[in-house]
């Protein structure tokens, strides 16, 4: 009988995120190389980890063809120099790919089957544009199983505005501006850079080195945002400015059982408390994190008030606002996305989950007064995913101090 174990997040890294397309910095870089370089960087940062002790490698990608195909977890592990005895597999839950990888690896560790696992994701949306090669079953339309909007993410975001008229475009734009400003401030303070693995990039001007995210627009203003086109509806509310962009990038994290971490002298950055995934109507997929969070809280025996830090994936500003609105949290609550989010940094679909974890883990280090935090995100075809984490640096004393402060 396998022995149940506590699950910890040891470390996580990512490549800088690029803008998708010919002008993006990763246009000439393979998707698998992004995840391989992130994996090498992760293992170099954790030299205590004997590579042959890693029990599995789960790598997510939404479009699993070409350089994102060939069972990425296995092929990337070989190419990153892991011993051939280490197995690996691919995983897909669209935007929540890496989060699902981390959940499932966490569950495998918690069950006692694994000691150490790598979880991550990659999406090269330049080489694999969203929806490329899909072939939806005609029954979806014939039997009206989902609305036509369901496969157009921007259209699903417009529907959130429809459902919650008080969540206005102005509020969405203001949230987006905040994301840009918080990312700029976090970069200025050197917070984002600490988990970035530089990637050599081949360009028309020769080799260069990607050392920071390509997408942020610190010069963003409310006026500028107000003037942007609404590509999903005439006179709509969703714009390129209050949504995440199309991006290329990869993330990987190392998860372990608490015992293995102790044995190998690894310092856990977070402890996994619970996770949950849930489904909603596909045409309004952005509200998915609400039921998934409720599920995860229920399993953890916690309430939303216990959560001191939120890392919410900003697929769309309106989609984050609907989450906050549901739980009675202010648009500009300081617990939410302290270093900004996907609107500024970018959202290479299946990779984003681990980025949320990286940032939450660093915030835990800085804020021992916080005990619990969540990472949550919406998922195409009407889903949400949530993981709840506990801060190993937490102390009651620090919490009292921070309450007073």
């Amino acid at each position: 009988m396998a022995e149940r174990a506590d699950v910890v997040f040891v470390d996580g890294v990512r490549t800088p995120f690029g803008r998708a397309g010919e002008k993006g910095m990763y246009w000439n870089t393979r998707a698998d190389d992004l995840v391989i370089k992130a994996m090498i960087g992760l293992l170099e940062r954790n030299p205590n980890v004997p590579k042959d002790r890693i029990d599995d490698v789960a790598i997510a990608a939404t479009t699993q063809t070409g350089d994102q195909g060939l069972t990425l977890g296995r092929s990337a592990a070989i190419l990153a120099g892991l011993p051939k005895s280490v197995p690996g597999f691919s995983i897909d839950r669209m935007c929540a790919g890496a989060m699902t990888a981390a959940s499932m690896m966490g569950a495998s560790i918690g069950y006692g089957a694994y000691d150490l696992a790598i979880a991550g994701g990659v999406e090269h949306m330049g080489r694999h544009p969203m929806g490329s090669g899909v072939d939806p079953n005609p029954r979806f339309v014939a039997e009206k199983l989902v609305s036509e909007d369901a496969l157009v993410m921007g259209a699903t975001a417009e529907r959130i505005h429809d459902r919650f008229p008080h969540l206005t475009k102005e509020r969405a734009d203001r949230f987006a501006l905040g994301s840009q400003q918080k990312v700029a401030a976090a970069y200025e303070a050197g917070k984002i850079q600490q988990d970035l693995i530089p990637v050599a990039i081949r360009t028309e001007e020769g080799w260069g080195l990607a050392t920071k995210d390509e997408a942020p627009r610190p010069e963003t203003t409310m006026e500028g945002l107000a003037g942007l086109k609404t590509p999903f509806r005439p006179h709509g509310r969703v714009t390129a400015g209050n949504a995440s962009g199309l991006n290329d990038g990869a993330t990987v994290a190392l998860l372990a059982s608490a015992d293995a971490a102790a044995e190998l002298d690894l310092t856990p950055k977070m402890k996994l408390v619970s996770f949950g995934f849930a489904g909603v109507d596909p045409e309004i997929m952005g509200i998915g994190p609400v039921p998934s969070t409720e599920k995860a809280l229920r399993r953890a025996g916690l309430s939303i008030d216990d959560i001191g830090l939120f890392e919410l994936n900003e697929a769309f500003a309106i989609q984050v606002l609907s989450f906050l609105d549901h739980f009675g949290i202010d648009d500009d609550d300081p617990r939410v996305n302290q270093w900004g989010g996907a609107i500024a940094l970018g959202h290479p679909l299946a990779s984003s989950g681990v980025r949320l974890m990286n940032q939450l883990a660093r915030q835990f280090e800085e804020q021992p007064g916080v005990r619990y935090g969540i990472t949550a995100m919406c998922v195409g075809l009407g889903q949400g995913g949530t993981m709840i984490w506990e801060n190993p640096n937490w102390s009651k004393k620090a919490e009292r101090k921070s309450r007073k402060g």
């Binding site: 370089k37 120099g81 081949r202 001007e205 020769g206 080799w207 080195l209 050392t211």
Partner: protein
């Protein structure tokens, strides 16, 4: 001292008309603490099949780029400079075809100087400089890196080398001067002279690190990232670079000249003194002891200019192109699509040669191979040899245990020819006698299908006659290997009059699968290699028979620069074999090939050379000398040489007239690959043209214009 900035390089533009320019791109890369590294990427815009090369335009662009970076370094914009290449390739050095077109010594000198002018700028850029050797780095490609302050190398780099000496020149863009001062004289001798002369051996990433050419090696997966990070550490002073192989005072005082002396002696013994480039390189390496860049570079300029305008460089480039290009697209080869599939191989004979065939076929084709001989004992002996060899390969780690099992299981032996029934390729290696070969094939034909290809390894019999007793002679082809089978890269594929295209095509495809270079010849005595060698043997034995001492004959042949003298070669192939080959040719062409009774007597005696305990030749066996004594018309070395050169020119001319092969290039390719005739001769015909033998023998030259240097 040469002031390279004062030299006008515009004259070189004539050489750049169709240059594939390797551009020097620059991107800034942020280092720690706000420092900036300017990363230069060399890229000619083509894929890896067309490596970066360094013609005049490429070098001038590189120089201008580094000038700009020196300005920026001075202004404090950048704190480091690094050079790397496009994927898999740093640079493959100078463009050989351009070097061959240089019209005079002045331009040759300019070309050498331009290399120093451009490459040297990395040394004077004003901030720490790095070369990230990300892949192939040959000649000038490696020299780019030698001008840098620091180097890293990709662990998966396929080849790093200074192959100049192999091609008849010297590493003269700084290599001969800088390398020994970086890695020590003995290591430098290995890289600059020893490796090029060992079939142009190259270095892998690990060797580059161990020799001390690179300071660090990184895995390819994140080579550039790791190199940049390391450069950052070096610039920031976090890493101190140690170079254990860098020569110290003692090495300069004591070891340097001694090492040069030993190398010179060894070189003279091994290759003689005809080939100029190794000796020119030795001179430069000797001079590098002073560690005086300017003087060293000036000496390199002059040495390169001298060699570029000489005959040997032209012949070497000609030979290089034969081996690199013509060998890969054999003249007259029929469509590959005609080739028949070969799924099982039969080898008739189980002696040493036959066993070597079986081993080669099973390794390269990975199909069942069955061997046969007159009795079970011989078959068993052959099988034991093959299995031992497979075991040796396994022990050396050249093949895995699974692969070894697979190969052993594929090889079987039999005395029952019926086991050949499903072979679609049968090759014989039985005694070199027409009747035997005829009977062997006639017997095997009873068992195999009418389409099975039959191949004979005859070296001098008529393939047509060997097939005289066959019902289907169109499937017989000559397939002549050279000894040792595993090592020698040539197969003469003999296209007999009755051989059909499907059979010929099969032979060519099989040769390629065996990783051999095949040349198609007509069914004439001795084909190419043995006929040319028989001419040498006939003339040299004739001189001996006439009373010329062996030593004088050796002296006569020395200017050819052959890998070994005619009598040493004779002893290597076997005196009896030699006698047989000469008889065959005398029989076919009695007016041009001398018979030699002495040779038969020497074969009976069994010994020609005297050797010391280590096997080195010390002179001639007294018994042998006694046997050949008695000639009354001794010739001078010069007379013999002229006779031999003219005889060779005449014979090769006749071979071409008779269409044994289509072109002199094929003769040369055969002599280079089958007999190891040197690049500096261009095989045979460039040499015969340049010494006037062709003109004397048939009033023309083989090549128009002749493959010769431009002189001063």
């Amino acid at each position: 001292m040469t002031d390279y900035t004062k030299i006008d390089f515009t004259e070189l533009e004539g050489l750049s008309d169709d240059e594939v320019v390797t551009h020097s791109y620059v991107r800034d890369v942020p280092l720690s603490d706000g420092r900036v590294l300017a990363l230069v990427t060399l890229d000619n815009g083509r894929d890896h099949t067309r490596p970066n090369t360094l013609g005049p335009k490429s070098l001038l662009e590189y120089a201008e780029t580094l000038d700009r970076l020196a300005e920026r370094a001075k202004a404090g914009d950048i704190q480091a400079v690094a050079v790397t290449g496009k994927p898999f390739i740093l640079a493959a050095g100078a463009d050989l075809s351009k070097i061959a077109e240089i019209p005079n010594r002045e331009i040759a000198l300019r070309m050498a100087q331009l290399g120093h002018h451009a490459l040297g700028k990395l040394h004077t850029v004003g901030v720490p400089s790095f070369a990230f050797i990300n892949g192939l780095a040959l000649g000038g490609g490696l020299e780019i890196g030698l001008h840098a302050d620091y180097r890293t190398v990709d662990a998966s780099t396929p080849a790093v080398a200074l192959p100049e000496v192999f091609l008849g020149i010297v590493p003269a863009w700084g290599g001969a001067t800088l390398l020994p001062n970086l890695i020590g004289i003995e290591n430098a001798l290995k890289v600059v002279i020893e490796n090029p002369l060992k079939q142009n051996r190259t270095l892998k990433g690990k060797d580059v690190l161990e020799l001390g050419i690179a300071d660090r090696m990184f895995a390819s997966a994140a080579f550039l990232e790791d190199s940049i990070r390391w450069a950052d550490d070096v610039v920031a002073g976090r890493v101190k670079v140690k170079r254990p192989n860098e020569p110290g005072k003692v090495e300069r005082m004591v070891k340097w000249d001694a090492a040069i002396g030993i190398a010179t002696k060894m070189l003279k013994r091994r290759i003689g003194e005809v080939q100029q480039s190794p000796y020119a390189a030795l001179e430069l390496l000797k001079g590098a002891k002073a560690n005086d860049r300017e003087a060293g570079f000036a000496a390199e300029d002059e040495a390169l200019a001298d060699l570029i305008v000489g005959d040997q460089l032209q012949a070497s480039i000609y030979a290089f192109n034969l081996v690199q290009k013509r060998a890969k697209k054999p003249a007259g080869a029929p469509d590959k699509a005609l080739a028949k599939p070969v799924t099982k191989v039969g080898v008739i004979g189980a002696g040493l040669m036959a066993s070597q065939f079986a081993l080669l076929f099973v390794r390269r084709l990975q199909v069942p191979v069955v061997i046969t001989d007159l009795d079970q004992a011989r078959v068993d002996k052959g099988l034991a040899y093959i299995r031992d060899e497979i075991g040796t390969l396994e022990q050396k780690g050249r093949i895995s245990p699974d692969e070894a099992n697979r190969l052993r299981a594929l090889v079987t032996g039999t005395t029952d020819k019926a086991d050949f029934a499903d072979c679609d390729w049968v090759i014989e290696a039985v005694f070199e006698e027409l009747g035997i070969k005829q009977d062997v094939f006639a017997e095997i034909e009873q068992h195999v299908s009418p389409e099975a290809v039959l191949a004979t390894n005859t070296s001098s019999l008529s393939v047509e006659q060997i097939g005289a007793k066959l019902a289907n002679p169109e499937r017989l082809v000559g397939f002549h290997f050279f000894n040792p089978v595993a090592v020698m890269p040539l197969i003469e594929v003999v296209n007999a009059p009755q051989t059909d295209d499907a059979t010929l095509s099969t032979a060519m495809v099989i040769a390629a699968k065996l990783r051999k270079n095949a040349v198609i010849t007509r069914d004439t005595p001795g084909f190419v290699v043995n006929r040319v060698l028989a001419k040498v043997l006939g003339e040299t034995m004739h001189a001996v028979d006439e009373g010329t001492p062996f030593e004088v004959v050796d002296e006569a042949v020395k200017p050819f620069g052959l890998p070994m003298g005619p009598f040493e070669l004779l002893e290597l192939v076997g005196l009896k074999v030699g006698a047989h080959v000469l008889d065959t040719h005398h029989g076919a062409f009695p007016e041009r090939f001398f018979a030699s009774d002495n040779l038969h007597r020497l074969a009976e005696h069994g010994k020609l050379l005297a050797r010391d305990g280590k096997g080195n030749v010390t002179g001639y066996d007294t018994g042998a000398v006694k046997i050949v004594a008695g000639g009354t018309n001794p010739m001078t070395a010069e007379e013999i040489r002229t006779r031999l050169e003219d005889g060779l020119a005449d014979e090769i001319h006749r071979m071409l007239e008779d269409d044994v092969v289509h072109a002199p290039e094929d003769i040369d390719l055969c002599m280079i690959l089958g007999a190891g005739w040197p690049f500096q001769m261009g095989g045979a015909t460039p040499y015969l043209d340049r010494v006037g033998a062709s003109e004397r023998a048939f009033g023309d030259t083989f090549h128009h214009p002749p493959v010769a240097g431009v002189g001063d």
